[in-house]
């Protein structure tokens, strides 16, 4: 069933966002479940096979995640082994280890960003949303997306540089 496949992918991505924002698998799962239930039960929510459903779901997931974070008053540290690289893994052990270390550094750096910076980087670079969709999800003006995203990237870059992460720019 076509709807089911698209929905499955959308759900996984929504879970991934919630997990990265909340750093807790159970909370992320609950957020996604309740958001999908809201989508099914709410008359004004877009249908599951509608193109607007994905941005709508991400908006709800993001808002629910913020509610949980506000409630908890703190962000729990994510277990670094929950993530890995999808890039082709090198067969050389040294390179493999180096890749893993780079990813670990990146994970930690992302988790050091504040909520606003983290969510906009994830929405753009990880989930590949357009600026227009990001504006919808975050409830901000279209024109603010680029500047907010750039500030977030600069913050991430600064953290990575401080951690000694080589970004390969010309010196």
């Amino acid at each position: 069933m076509q709807v089911s496949e698209e929905f499955e992918e959308c759900r996984k991505q929504a879970f991934s966002l919630a997990l990265r924002l909340l750093n807790n698998r159970d909370d992320a799962l609950e957020v996604v479940q309740s958001s999908i239930e809201k989508g099914i039960n709410r008359a004004n929510a877009p249908a599951l096979d509608h193109p607007e459903f994905k941005p709508w779901l991400f908006t709800v997931v993001r808002n629910k995640s913020i509610d949980i974070l506000r409630h908890q008053k703190r962000v729990r540290k994510v277990e670094h082994e929950e993530f890995h690289s999808s890039a082709p893994v090198s067969t050389e052990p040294d390179k493999n280890l180096q890749q893993m270390q780079l990813k670990e550094t990146l994970e930690k750096a992302i988790n050091q960003l504040n909520m606003q910076q983290k969510e906009i980087i994830l929405l753009r670079d990880y989930h590949n949303f357009s600026y227009a969709d990001i504006a919808k999800i975050l409830g901000i003006a279209n024109g603010s997306v680029m500047s907010r995203l750039h500030r977030a990237r600069m913050a991430l870059r600064e953290i990575l540089v401080k951690k000694g992460f080589s970004l390969g720019g010309e010196k």
């Binding site: 499955e8 991934s16 479940q33 999808s86 980087i121 670079d125």
Partner: protein, 180 residues
């Protein structure tokens, strides 16, 4: 002002685009190699360029800046690589499989249905048995038998009502074939 006016919107977008392009051009002249200036909002067009969200005019200006300005090029390369690294992060397969299991929960679902059916059948049998024994008991009066019968009948009615409601909901659920 009517925000929906397409002409006004087009003029506004063109003016905004020109401002941003001029800003980038001004940056070409005034760029300082100081790292603090990398936080300057004028550099944000690099992000728009990386994401393919600039107009053709803006993109050309940024291409020129990247070619001619060392600091600009360095920042572009760093942000570009950082973006690739973030894009390469993904959830582990095991994590997604675990997620699937949690969402589908076939065992829990089957157990729940089976348990509910057992409880419903057991309740009907127990209530029926109790009512039968009470009704055939020679020492109990008619009033007592009627009261107990009302309690038992009420319980069975409530049980039937819950079962009926669940069946109606299941039939009307338009997303029942969608996996959650």
């Amino acid at each position: 002002m009517n925000d929906n006016d397409p002409n006004k919107s087009a003029i506004h977008a063109k003016a905004q685009s020109k401002d941003r392009a001029d800003l980038a051009q001004a940056q070409l002249v005034g760029a300082d190699s100081n790292d603090d200036q990398l936080d300057d909002p004028r550099f944000e067009l690099i992000s728009g360029f990386l994401d393919g969200e600039l107009t053709q005019q803006e993109a050309q200006k940024i291409s020129l800046l990247i070619e001619t300005d060392v600091e600009y090029r360095r920042l572009y390369q760093e942000l570009s690589q950082m973006r690739v690294e973030v894009q390469s992060l993904s959830l582990q397969e095991q994590e997604l499989e675990h997620l699937d299991r949690l969402f589908k929960e076939p065992v829990a679902k089957t157990t729940r249905i089976f348990g509910f059916a057992l409880v419903a059948i057991g309740a009907v049998v127990v209530v029926g048995l109790i009512l039968f024994r009470i009704f055939i008991h020679p020492e109990l009066g008619l009033l007592e038998k009627i009261l107990v019968g009302a309690l038992g009948g009420g319980t069975l009615l409530l049980l039937f009502s819950v079962l009926r409601q669940r069946l109606i909901n299941a039939k009307k659920d338009k997303y029942k074939r969608v996996k959650i």
